[in-house]
């Protein structure tokens, strides 16, 4: 009987150990289609910001034949892009990806996506990047608890080091450079802003602060006029305010005219093409002709009609409107492409929380 039990004990252990093979490490994970031999020179980059804290930001690529390639940053560089990719910018041969919660800017070749450098110093909650001459300008919210430490980091594009900072008021978000001036929309970061700062790039200091409505978001400059969408404070703030679109004369930094929205309507973003401004309200797309600067009575289209759940990013380019659907934020998102008159042309899946589109040599 002793022998019997011993044998069973051994068998028992053998069974236990055999569970080691019971894992899915060799399960067939779907492999992203192989990249076009590192050729991303003509197409659309779609930035998927990923979940905050989850280090699952990624870049998808739509090529000219409408093929979609996922995870191109990690496929090319064998590294994670990081935690919450906020935005991207092009300068020369390079693309710069601002990774908010990683507090980094990834510098890659815009045609191969090979990593060139990672900017890590002097970035705290970085948001957007623009370029002028030898410098990149990166908006930073700074410490979430401190409303007085927000700044624009000035990046030396040769060394990829931040060489100075320009202090600004709370919540610098989107940036635009025009005529030697940097325009900063103070969306508010961890609070709520209501101004546009104007920075003289030569002197590197703030020369104007233009008051607009609460939560300025999208910026467009055309024909010497700066247009700004202000979302207004949302109801959950318990201090809801109305939104508006402002037209500012860049020559003297004064508000020329403004279109205020009815109570409870909160516009987002702003893009420009063919003398027309495009903005969104929830899942609806609206447009305004520059020549007829007044609020439209009806949307251009309602993206929900095509099954979109949460409109989280959009852009217009070469006769198309690109719309990103974040769904429930814990699913792979989707992209919808419309013609400028609002007819759906194409739709395809991307990755988690797509938030913006960047057009490479298109």
């Amino acid at each position: 009987m002793k022998h019997f039990s011993f044998r069973h004990s051994v068998s028992f252990l053998a069974i236990v150990f055999s569970f080691i093979s019971c894992t899915s490490e060799d399960r067939e994970t779907p492999i992203d289609p192989p990249p076009l031999s590192g050729d991303y020179s003509n197409g659309v980059f779609i930035l998927n910001e990923g979940n905050f804290g989850s280090v699952n930001a990624s870049v998808s690529f739509l090529d000219e034949s409408d093929q979609v390639f996922g995870n191109i940053f990690s496929n090319v560089n064998s590294a994670n892009l990081g935690d919450t990719a906020q935005s991207m910018g092009f300068n020369g041969d390079n693309a710069y990806i601002v990774v908010n919660n990683s507090a980094t800017v990834e510098v890659v070749n815009r045609n191969t996506f090979d990593r060139i450098a990672t900017v890590t110093d002097m970035l705290v909650n970085p948001r957007y990047i623009v370029f002028s001459g030898n410098n990149g300008y990166i908006s930073n919210w700074g410490d979430p608890n401190n409303i007085n430490d927000d700044y624009i980091a000035v990046l030396n594009l040769e060394t990829n080091l931040v060489e100075s900072t320009i202090s600004v008021v709370e919540g610098p978000e989107r940036l635009l450079i025009n005529n030697g001036k940097l325009y900063v929309a103070h969306k508010g970061g961890f609070g709520y802003g209501n101004t546009i700062s104007v920075i003289d790039l030569e002197a590197q200091n703030v020369i104007e602060s233009i008051p607009v409505a609460d939560v300025p978001d999208g910026l467009v400059i055309t024909n010497g006029s700066l247009y700004v969408t202000c979302t207004g404070k949302l109801p959950f703030t318990q201090d809801e305010t109305i939104g508006g679109i402002f037209k500012i004369d860049t020559a003297d930094a004064t508000v020329e005219s403004s279109l205020m929205f009815p109570e409870g309507i909160h516009p987002n973003s702003l893009e420009y093409i063919n003398n027309t401004l495009y903005y969104t309200v929830e899942n609806a797309m609206f447009n305004i002709k520059i020549s007829n600067f007044q609020l439209p009575s009806a949307p251009l289209f309602e993206a929900s009609d095509n099954g979109l759940e949460i409109l989280y990013g959009f852009n217009v380019h070469n006769g198309n409107i690109y719309v990103a659907d974040a769904k429930d934020y814990i699913s792979n998102g989707e992209v919808f492409i419309y013609s400028l008159d609002g007819v759906l042309q194409n739709q395809f899946n991307v990755a988690i929380i797509p938030n913006s589109f960047y057009f490479n040599n298109l």
Partner: protein, 612 residues
């Protein structure tokens, strides 16, 4: 296919063991699968009791203990960081953690962070799967974990010192002193645990940064038998913990988090006349967290809730076969936080029940609980079941219950986002257990079904803002297997415990499995002792989980195995001291239980345990 193989192994394993043990002549000393001991609980479901010796063998966190010894699935944001359970496929706030029978889930989040419970403060932990809202109220939907300070009488003066030290400067110190005579019993425990927690992520050159933590726990329990009919018990527990949250990426802003929780309980047990006994519990609980979004800045956000709880229960036992119970339960919460205005709420409930042994083999029980809270719809909760034991070898248990979970403080009162009109979640459950036991082995297999409606979830609006809502219906069903076996051959002692859970937890709207609920989880531990030498091997196999609600295969978190091996030797006779050595993650598995939050590879730990 592999999963099927896993199930087959379980089947083979269990039948193997039961038959293998048939010839045995030794007696199983401690059957861990037994009837529930807590007074206000039910007889028609199974409870797993983890004894002091099991608690000692495991690391100090409740996450680690239950991960290796129960079918509960854990997601842990890196070792020692925020840890939440999924018990029988439910969400983290649907598992109730009780401290000596009192619910201690956070009123702000509805959950217990299992890495803020130090198991060294308790000498028994009971794990019960399935709903038990009739006895514990809101939250006990997926299951309950009861942290117990069990008092013993007439055991004299005993002291125990336990110290461990391991890699990454991980240390634990635990001192427990007990004195008990025939009328009086007292137990005091002091414990401190900490770690630099700067482990390298396996297969990379990245270090877990900013993950250091430490915590201290004070526990107290005493009982005094005033006379033959009256006993007063007093319990207290203080937990003070500080953690830095490890950074998801190296350059990210560093954060820290502190917890300070106190619990006090006075219990009066008395016997009135011949047939009646009563139990009164008065408890006061405080919970407090502070979150520092930047470790270098003194600014923090916080939440604080003070609770006062009264539980009164009367048992009427007209014969040895019948028990009639009636009770009342009152909870007062007073909370506030950075985003919550000061809010108080009062919850009351009454319950009645009957347990009846119709024969020695057959028992039925019914308990009803009427919640009397207008805001939450005054639900009538119930639990009913039967137990049938035709032979000593086999027992059948059937149970059905209605359970609920009320919205948390955050759900209701978070400024601008909370919704004071939220409804509670409601759960209807049924389960059937087949328990088999022979001299030195027991095996239980339970099938269950649980339908949860009005599930509370944070849902993004078209404005991108997440708000709590009563959303989907979730249907959960599955199988649980528990196995215990023990065999002595001369001086050789073998033990084996195993659990297996198969869980389907489906959102009825989408037909998809909930995220972070594995279909399969298997745990086993085998022990061997020879005279003063003992060794054990623990093993878990966690199935893959979806991390996105579309169940997209490219976002699956792979399954993993983790095993620990320990050896110890006891020296001394009157004063005994044990020296032990553990290898954690023996096979050096690179694994994550939360996406992109790697856990440590193989690491080593030593301990001494002094009893005097």
């Amino acid at each position: 296919m592999k999963q099927i193989v896993c199930i087959l192994f379980i089947g083979v394993l269990s039948s193997y063991e039961i038959y293998a043990q048939k010839d045995s002549i030794t007696v199983l000393k401690e059957v861990q699968l037994k009837h529930i001991k807590i007074r206000d609980s039910i007889y028609t479901t199974n409870t797993v009791v983890l004894s002091d010796s099991v608690l000692r063998q495991n690391q100090a966190s409740l996450t680690n203990l239950l991960n290796f010894n129960s079918p509960i699935y854990f997601k842990e944001n890196g070792l020692g960081m925020v840890s939440s359970p999924s018990f029988r496929g439910t969400t983290a706030s649907q598992t109730a953690v009780l401290w000596n029978g009192i619910n201690i889930n956070s009123q702000t989040t509805g959950q217990t962070d299992f890495n803020t419970i130090n198991t060294r403060g308790f000498n028994k932990i009971e794990v019960r799967a399935g709903g038990s809202s009739v006895s514990t109220g809101s939250g006990a939907v997926g299951g309950t974990i009861n942290l117990v300070n069990e008092l013993h009488y007439d055991t004299g003066f005993n002291n125990e010192l336990f110290a461990n030290y391991g890699e990454f400067n991980t240390y634990g110190m635990d001192y427990r002193t007990e004195y008990a005579n025939k009328e009086f019993s007292i137990m005091i425990g002091l414990s401190r645990n900490g770690s630099d927690n700067d482990y390298p992520f396996p297969e990379t050159d990245i270090i877990n940064e900013n993950g250091q933590y430490y915590n201290s726990n004070f526990s107290f329990a005493s009982g005094y038998k005033l006379n033959k009919k009256n006993t007063i018990n007093i319990y207290a527990n203080v937990y003070d913990g500080r953690r830095n949250f490890s950074v998801p990426t190296p350059n990210a802003l560093r954060t820290k988090y502190t917890d300070f929780n106190t619990r006090a309980l006075v219990e009066w047990e008395s016997i009135i006349g011949k047939y009646v006994s009563s139990n009164l519990k008065l408890a006061s609980i405080t919970e407090e967290y502070n979150f520092f979004a930047n470790i270098d800045n003194d600014f923090f956000t916080f939440g604080r809730v003070n609770s006062f709880i009264v539980k009164y229960n009367l048992d009427y036992k007209p014969s040895n076969k019948v028990l009639l119970t009636a009770g009342t339960h009152y909870i007062h919460n007073n909370g506030r936080g950075s985003n919550i205005q000061s809010e108080t709420r009062n919850l009351t409930a009454v319950n009645v029940g009957i347990k009846h042994f119709v024969s020695d083999a057959f028992l039925y029980e019914v308990t009803l609980r009427q919640e009397t809270n207008e805001q939450f719809g005054n639900p009538l909760l119930y639990s009913a079941g039967i137990s049938y034991r035709p032979t000593s070898f086999y027992q059948l248990k059937l149970n059905t219950s209605k359970n609920f979970r009320i919205p948390t403080y955050n759900d209701l009162y978070w400024t601008g986002l909370g919704d004071p009109n939220l409804k509670p979640e409601t759960s209807y459950q049924g389960e059937i257990s087949h328990n088999f036991s022979i001299k030195n082995a027991s095996f239980a297999i339970t099938g269950y079904y649980n339908s949860v409606t009005d599930l509370l979830r944070y849902v993004p609006g078209t404005d991108g803002i997440f708000r709590p809502e009563n959303t989907n219906k979730v249907e959960i069903y599955g199988l649980e297997c528990l196995l215990n076996a023990e065999k002595n051959i001369n001086d050789h002692k073998f033990t084996a415990n195993a659990t297996y859970a198969y869980t389907v937890s489906e959102n009825q709207e989408t037909g998809r499995q909930l995220i972070y609920v594995p279909f399969h989880k298997f745990t086993t531990s085998v022990g061997y002792a020879y005279k003063k030498l003992s060794a054990y091997y623990q093993y878990i196999n966690n199935g893959e989980v979806f991390t996105t609600t579309d169940n997209a295969t490219n976002n699956i978190l792979d399954s993993y195995i983790v095993a620990n091996l320990g050896v110890d030797y006891t020296f001394g006779t009157s004063i005994s001291y044990k020296v032990g050595f553990q290898v954690l993650n023996l096979w050096n598995e690179a694994y994550e239980s939360v996406l992109n939050r790697p856990m440590p590879g193989r690491n080593f730990n030593t301990y001494v345990n002094l009893i005097f």
